[in-house]
């Protein structure tokens, strides 16, 4: 009954090739956008912004970035945390060096700088594959964290090695620093997420994305049919780096406000984002959102249930939360290796036939 294409005729090519060709799906998408832009900003408070929405949106950008590289192009990366750090530190350096330039430009430039760095670390992918590439990106993770810790220039020689975001505004509305309103934080992240998701979605639907997927499915076959592996792999690293850099810049400037490389951008972060795309679904933009939501919301939800709802001791709740999230991850991987996105796809298939399945 839902998600049916019957009666939904495309009369032009653009209509036929739009992102959501089924009318119901398209309207659902508009409703989600409308709620996100027009409803949530008016009801959001500090707790919901800082503990739930802002981290969710930022991790969603990072997950989209990693999904392009790993899910679409098949290049495993364990350096996401460090690449986010590149975004964060470039943003910090730009914010402090050019205080008069808009923060939006700084965030985009940080994405660009990260893209360059990630492309550089992507060069070995032309020679090595699979696990070996994973190890090479792992080296990037440790090298970059070490670099940001070691070289004082990156943190403006502050005594503690911490970087902290000064106050910056967009159109007169403060978006970084301690005086930011919850809705402003939320909206700036939402705008970036929406743009990133639209760009990523359209890239993956176009010729660039098809080249990535050809490389992912079988690189030799792809080369034989005329895909340039160097171009495809390096563009994947570049685009992925751009998104991850934006995520890192927002993570530092809007969400945390102060960061320290080892703690905020360690190997844990790389694994966290990797888990997000595995649980959400490799090779799916929706999966990036679903995975980010799962990994960000579940701990907060469990904590509120165990400590807030049931009044259990905090250490018991923290340990139990590890057990529950770990168990759920394993259960997902066994029962649905293609992630939450596949569940969503199946649900849509079922809904199409409902209430008369054959």
């Amino acid at each position: 009954m839902f998600y049916r294409e019957s009666g939904d005729f495309s009369t032009t090519y653009p209509q036929d090739s739009q992102t959501f060709p089924i009318r119901f799906d398209r309207y659902r998408y508009y409703v989600v956008l409308a709620v996100a832009f027009l409803v949530i900003p008016f009801i959001i408070n500090d707790y919901w912004a800082n503990a739930v929405f802002v981290p969710f949106l930022i991790y969603a950008i990072a997950a989209i970035g990693l999904n392009i590289l790993t899910g679409y192009c098949g290049q495993v990366s364990l350096g996401t945390g460090a690449f986010m750090a590149v975004g964060a530190y470039s943003c910090y350096k730009l914010m402090t060096a050019f205080p008069d330039v808009s923060i939006v430009i700084h965030v985009l430039l940080s994405g660009g700088i990260t893209a360059a760095v990630v492309t550089l670390f992507g060069l070995p992918s032309l020679r090595i594959k699979g696990f070996y590439l994973a190890v090479a990106t792992l080296a990037a993770q440790f090298f970059l964290v070490w670099l940001f810790n070691k070289v004082g220039w990156f943190y403006n020689y502050s005594a503690s090695g911490q970087i902290s975001a000064p106050e910056r505004s967009v159109l007169g509305i403060i978006v970084t620093g301690p005086n930011t309103e919850a809705w402003a934080k939320y909206l700036i992240c939402l705008v970036f997420v929406t743009l990133c998701a639209i760009i990523a979605r359209n890239l993956t639907r176009g010729s660039v994305g098809r080249r990535w997927m050809a490389i992912r499915d079988m690189d030799i076959a792809a080369e034989i049919i005329g895909v340039n592996p160097m171009g495809a792999k390096l563009t994947a690293f570049m685009v992925s780096g751009f998104f991850v850099g934006i995520a890192g810049a927002l993570f530092f400037s809007v969400y945390l406000g102060a960061a320290e490389v080892g703690e905020s951008f360690g190997i844990d972060k790389s694994f966290l984002v990797l888990f997000m795309i595995i649980i959400g679904g490799l090779g799916s933009i929706f999966g990036s959102f679903a995975g980010a939501a799962f990994m960000v919301l579940l701990p907060v939800f469990l904590k509120n249930v165990f400590v807030g709802g049931l009044g259990w001791p905090t250490d018991l709740a923290a340990h139990l939360q590890f057990i529950v999230s770990g168990g759920l991850i394993i259960m997902f991987l066994i029962m649905e290796p293609h992630g939450l996105a596949q569940l969503w796809r199946l649900a849509k298939e079922k809904l199409r036939l409902w209430p008369f399945p054959h």
Binding site: A51, V52, S160, G161, S164, P166, N304, V307, D315
Partner: protein, 425 residues
């Protein structure tokens, strides 16, 4: 949606109509820093339980401690801060330098005081710039100076040409003393050798090999959590003389030295309060809290170094709350009043005796110009046979000539970065 309902229910259940004095405890009972986080959190909570049970709260108003697990992680710390601040939290004591750095701007904007007792940003001592941040009674730069002074005492006042190694947690916390130590190395002519240990610090073989090769005369340590135990064990393994190994106050708990057994005998650590449970207050704790079955956690930490520190932190918070009640003439204080109370806090020997803690810590006063107290500290030494810490010096002053200038410089830089006009009105 369910989450929203749950959270709303949680908030409603947690905030009864009658206002309590809310003291959030951002604790960590899990993760690599739990061994040190648990005793502190227990001590903090037990002291407030005692006040509730024995005195009916502070000034007649019940105290409520809301515990929130941070795991020593800044992101969870932010979540905990946001979750608790709406409930009228009077003061935050995150027990993490990383989380303190996060909270400095946020809490200042929200008008809630932060007490980073012996940790956090050292230059917060300058209350003209850091209006809501307090770090009395001592800070890391005091600690660095105490350690160097102790070495000076041991060497008859001349340590030129000596080599001192600093083994530090490679984070904002561990890097904090470097600036003072390099300044002091210029002043006293010793050579400073920096040895970083990355989080969490379970693997330190290469660092201690380096120490074995370079043979420093003294080793200072800025460690926390599992890093302390490993470092002390490694030092024992390379037979580094323990009485030349001095830890900051966060590297001086029973949990840190016990794993090394007799090898840790003679290890020194700084402290800014007294150790042991030989105080009248502990009888009350036993009677009203432990025997009543209300002790926090497993109740097995009472009298340990970090338990005492947690209790001391709670005691200072309670005294500040009392001061605030006296200043504003109301028992039901707000965070802004609490801030005033902290800024007017005065800890005297008479006050401590009255509380059942005679001679427990140094006397100090807080003012707007000085949020850091007097910076007095003592050196404690571990006696492995008796299994206890003994103070081997009195509370001594730090080198304020060096530290004062550095505090002014660093706080001025912060003020410029955040366009704050320093003022003490």
């Amino acid at each position: 949606m369910r989450l929203l309902t749950m959270a709303t229910a949680a908030v409603m259940a947690a905030s009864p109509v009658m206002a309590d004095l809310v003291f959030p405890s951002l604790s960590y009972r899990t993760g690599p820093y739990a061994a040190n986080g648990i005793p502190f959190a227990d001590g903090y909570e037990d002291y407030f339980t005692l006040l509730n049970e024995r005195d009916g709260g502070i000034g007649g108003v019940a105290v409520k401690v809301i515990e929130c697990e941070t795991g020593y992680n800044t992101e969870k710390g932010v979540e905990c801060y946001e979750a608790t601040k709406g409930e009228g939290a009077l003061v935050y004591q995150p027990l993490s330098t990383g989380i303190t750095y996060q909270l400095i701007p946020k809490a200042t904007a929200d008008g809630i005081p932060v007490h980073s007792m012996g940790y956090g940003r050292t230059s917060a001592k300058n209350g003209a710039v850091f209006s809501n941040i307090f770090n009395y009674p001592a800070n890391y730069w005091d600690g660095a100076s105490h350690a160097v002074n102790h070495i000076l005492d041991e060497n008859g006042g001349d340590i030129s040409g000596k080599k001192i190694a600093l083994v530090y947690h490679n984070s904002a916390y561990g890097k904090e003393p470097i600036r003072t130590l390099s300044e002091l190395s210029g002043k006293h002519g010793f050579e400073l050798m920096e040895v970083a240990v990355d989080h969490p610090g379970q693997e330190q073989k290469s660092q201690w090999l380096q120490i074995r090769q370079q043979r420093p005369d003294y080793v200072l340590m800025w460690g926390w959590g599992v890093m302390n135990q490993v470092a002390i064990q490694e030092a024992a393994n390379i037979r580094f003389p323990m009485d030349k190994f001095i830890g900051i106050w966060w590297s001086g708990s029973e949990n840190d030295v016990l794993p090394a057994g007799d090898g840790a005998n003679g290890y020194k650590a700084l402290t800014f309060h007294n150790l042991g449970k030989d105080y009248p207050l502990f009888d009350d704790l036993q009677q009203y809290v432990v025997d009543a079955g209300k002790a926090a956690g497993a109740g097995d930490q009472i009298g340990t170094a970090l338990y005492n520190r947690g209790m001391y932190a709670a005691m200072l918070a309670a005294e500040a709350a009392k001061t605030a009640q006296a200043i504003h003439g109301t028992a039901d204080i707000t965070p802004a009043m609490m801030r005033d109370g902290m800024e007017a806090l005065e800890i005297t020997e008479a006050k401590m005796s009255e509380l059942g803690l005679p001679g427990f810590g140094p006397e100090f006063t807080v003012s707007c110009e000085n949020h850091g107290g007097n910076g007095l500290g003592a050196v404690a030494q571990w006696d492995a046979a008796a299994g206890e810490w003994n103070l081997i010096t009195g509370y001594e002053a730090s080198d304020q000539d060096v530290i004062g200038a550095l505090v002014d410089e660093d706080s001025a830089a912060f003020a410029a970065e955040n366009s704050i006009t320093p003022s003490c009105s």
